[in-house]
């Protein structure tokens, strides 16, 4: 590639390098700080001595988290919710986005307006709860994965990407005798890997992080995801130590800062495991030509 040899390009690369390094530092420092805090002893944290490496190394905060009676069950539940939720969402979003990407489709505008309307007018928490309850989903995993399975935002994004696929490809397939369903699964989806990967990632993160729906719709503790435990630790650490008159002196042996930091690190592990895989798919470009030929 010729342009890579120009002076302007080289100058740009230096500039680019500087900017990205700056961004990495801005993100890396607070992150390292949290990591260091999670491994430091309370006295050092409160003394303001911890910067980017641990002082008075201890893994107490991590022990405390893994000491939780239902942490493993929580991880398992989170995994189930994430896998099931992401699959259903991805499927539903795809089969909804594909027809709507066809501009010739009669009634398309009405469908899109119906969907967009729900972005701005939701029923509120209690009416939604009553609907979920009346279908009998309370305290089942479906209450967490069904009511929120299509996000209009992702739907519209996917629709836009589908529209970017050249008509000629689909027409050619049509001539070959494929019906729209076959075209969707055999041609459109394989060509949309980057957006599929990106939306899968969004969905996974949504389901992994969402404790709120589980808190509202699941009564049985056996079904609670790990993020509900996390939520309790992060938001509850401050509350618990200032109890309603009971001396709760124990919690303070652990700095709430180190506990919170450790929780962040623990919940990020799955993210770190999964992302590089998803990443592969949208770091690589798509070769439309390859399909055409």
């Amino acid at each position: 590639m010729l342009y890579r040899k120009t002076r302007g390009f080289r100058l740009f690369m230096v500039f680019n390098f500087c900017i990205l390094t700056l961004v990495m530092l801005a993100i890396g420092f607070p992150f390292l700080h949290l990591l260091a805090v999670s491994f430091s002893e309370s006295a050092a944290i409160l003394g303001g001595k911890v910067t980017v490496y641990p002082i008075g190394f201890t893994i107490d905060a991590y022990l405390r988290i893994f000491d939780h009676p239902s942490i493993m069950q929580g991880f398992k539940n989170s995994l189930i919710q994430t896998v099931l939720g992401t699959s259903i969402s991805l499927f539903m979003t795809t089969i909804c986005a594909y027809p709507l990407s066809k501009k010739f489709l009669k009634g398309r505008k009405a469908f899109i307006l119906i969907i967009m309307f729900t972005m701005f007018f939701s029923g509120g928490l209690i009416p939604t709860y009553l609907v979920v309850k009346s279908i009998g989903l309370i305290d089942t995993i479906w209450a967490v994965v069904l009511p929120f399975c299509i996000t209009p935002y992702y739907l519209l994004l996917m629709m836009t990407f589908f529209q970017g696929i050249p008509e000629s490809l689909e027409e050619a397939a049509m001539v070959d005798g494929l019906n729209p369903l076959q075209i969707l699964f055999k041609i459109v989806i394989p060509l949309s890997k980057p957006v599929m990967a990106a939306i899968t990632m969004f969905l996974m993160v949504y389901y992994w992080n969402n404790w709120f729906n589980s808190m509202i719709y699941l009564n049985s503790s056996k079904m609670h995801p790990v993020m509900m435990i996390v939520r309790n630790i992060v938001a509850g650490a401050d509350l618990a130590s200032m109890g309603s008159g009971i001396g709760q002196n124990d919690i303070n042996t652990l700095s709430s800062a180190s506990l919170k930091s450790a929780v962040i690190m623990v919940t990020m592990i799955p993210v770190l495991i999964v992302f590089p895989f998803a990443q592969k798919h949208f770091a690589k470009g798509v070769m439309l030509g390859a399909v055409k030929g």
């Binding site: 928490l125 009998g136 019906n179 435990i229 309790n232 509850g236 001396g247 002196n249």
Partner: protein, 518 residues
């Protein structure tokens, strides 16, 4: 190529089948969940569902020994639905609004009881007092009727089984660095003027310091020191005056003016931390244990850890110690302590259940000597023993890292189902001789302020109150910040502030509250 018709129909049928199956399988689960739990007869233990506020300090564990013991003794099997404590009230409101309420709902605060009680959601326990003999007995024994009155609705009915403390405790206090007081030969402050002088001296000794710090918010400081200033305890700033038999607003009064003037003086002279109203727990701890601040109001139970961390960071002499209340215009008063922090409610629908009597019997069991012993002291000769007629913990408990921790890990001292906190138990758990001596002093010298009278409002009045109250609270908080940090001048802007507050609804609310007294 088009799909043959048969195939299309098949696809549609599959989709529909899928949907109906989904409905069907969820229907079955609906049946079992709406019943809540199976309530078997006399043979097995009675199954009861319980909504439970899960504290991160002692995450719920169904295998806790004392929790099991409690169920075995009462012959019940509790199906605990735990909810993270920070979100408990959120879920509580949805559950109470949606109609499918567990048999027992724990940790319900006064405002929620008063909100839902009048709409027929909750069971009026006062109608069934004959079935709750232990509760009845303890209410009389604890002489707690004054406070309990605030929980009753207008018609005098009680919709809650209250958690009760035998006595108020001196568990929060002004706290000062005793090592510095000794080092500089200062006198322990007894009045606000003396406090000012002490802070000033300490600032001179360490110019980089902000001698006074405060935990969390403006409300914390007011709650902990307000009684001495004569502005608290109050119902959102409204105080019932025994003499005039009417309500008045205390945050526009003269005592409140003195309070903000005092804080303003501390801020301008850098005697108080600029983050006085916005310090997080960790940042406040940091200021205390690095010696940046040397005076604060806090819970006495916090001190052990602060002192340990302070010794590591500052000097081996580091000693934060609680002192007697510092007297202000309101007198020498401690912070007000609620003897009834929350309680258990039962849904009104429970009255029609076949196991209703057993449900009440279990609730009452929590107030019995046997039941309350299990969830506070534990098991005799295992976790506690009786010496000279007095209970004390065995080495098994006292030998643990902390008594509180040991109790939590066995399922005792649990805020959800411990209904009675006796004084002797509390003193043993807090394990701090200062609390007991100070509490005894407090009772002898009448340091505990009187109880606020909460106005009893109808649902319509409550809605009216809500809207006014938010505006008032907003304006109050903004003005307080402005007076303390210098955004407004106390000399010139005070009268405008008073007038403004009255126009914003203080007058209307006073009328509303006075109306309830008729």
């Amino acid at each position: 190529m088009k799909m043959p018709l048969r195939k299309t129909l098949l696809t549609m049928a599959t989709v529909l089948l899928g949907v109906s199956l989904l409905g069907a399988c969820s229907n079955t689960s609906n049946d079992s969940s709406s019943k809540g739990t199976d309530h078997s007869g006399a043979t097995g233990p009675l199954k009861l569902s319980m909504m439970y506020s899960d504290s991160s300090a002692y995450p719920f564990n169904k295998d806790w020994a004392l929790f099991k013991k409690l169920q075995a003794q009462a012959n019940v099997d509790l199906d605990v639905q735990s909810v993270p404590s920070p979100d408990y009230n959120n879920k509580l409101r949805i559950v109470l609004s949606s109609g499918s309420i567990p048999d027992l709902v724990t940790e319900v605060r006064q405002d929620i009881v008063s909100e839902f009680a009048q709409n027929g959601v909750l069971l009026p326990l006062s109608d069934y007092m004959d079935k709750l003999p232990n509760l009845k007995k303890k209410i009389e024994e604890y002489q707690i009727e004054d406070e309990l009155e605030n929980w009753r609705t207008k018609d005098g009915k009680l919709y809650v089984a209250p958690v009760m403390n035998e006595t108020a405790l001196y568990n929060t206090a002004p706290v000062i660095r005793m090592d510095l007081i000794k080092k500089y030969g200062l006198k322990i402050p007894e009045t606000m003027d003396e406090l000012y002088a002490v802070l000033k001296t300490l600032k001179e000794k360490d110019p980089a310091s902000f001698p006074m710090a405060n935990l969390e918010s403006a409300d914390t400081l007011r709650n902990l020191s307000g009684a001495a200033w004569g502005i608290d305890p109050s119902y959102n700033g409204f105080v019932y005056n025994q003499d005039t038999k009417s309500y008045a607003y205390s945050y526009t009064g003269d005592h409140y003016k003195q309070y903000v003037s005092f804080l303003h003086k501390l801020i301008t002279e850098k005697l108080a931390d600029p983050e006085l109203f916005t310090t997080s727990l960790d940042s406040w701890k940091q200021k205390m244990v690095t010696g940046k601040s040397v005076f604060t109001y806090t819970w006495i139970s916090e001190l052990a850890q602060l002192n340990a961390d302070g010794k590591k960071n500052v000097s081996p002499d580091f000693e934060l110690a609680p002192i007697a209340p510092i007297a202000g215009p309101g007198g020498k008063l401690a912070a007000s302590t609620l003897r009834i922090p929350h309680g258990i409610v039962i849904p009104a629908s429970a009255a029609k259940k076949p196991y209703f009597d057993q449900l009440l019997a279990f609730l009452d069991y929590l107030y019995s000597d046997e039941g309350s012993n299990i969830v506070t002291w534990g098991i005799e000769n295992d976790s506690y023993e009786v010496v000279d007629g007095k209970k004390q913990f065995t080495d098994k408990i006292t030998g643990a890292a902390s008594i509180q921790r040991a109790l939590w890990d066995s399922g005792a001292s649990n805020q959800n189902y411990t209904m009675l906190y006796t004084y002797d138990w509390f003193i043993k758990v807090l394990d701090n001789p200062l609390v007991s001596t100070l509490t005894e002093e407090a009772i002898a010298n009448h340091w505990f302020p009187p109880i606020t009278k909460v106005p009893k409002l109808s649902p319509d009045e409550k809605e009216e109150e809500n809207m006014q109250l938010t505006t008032i609270k907003d304006a109050y908080a903004k003005a307080q910040d402005a007076f303390v940090f210098g955004g407004m001048s106390i000399e010139t802007d005070w009268n405008n502030y008073v007038k403004d507050m009255e126009n914003r609804g203080v007058k209307k609310l006073i009328d509303l509250y006075n109306n309830t007294l008729k």
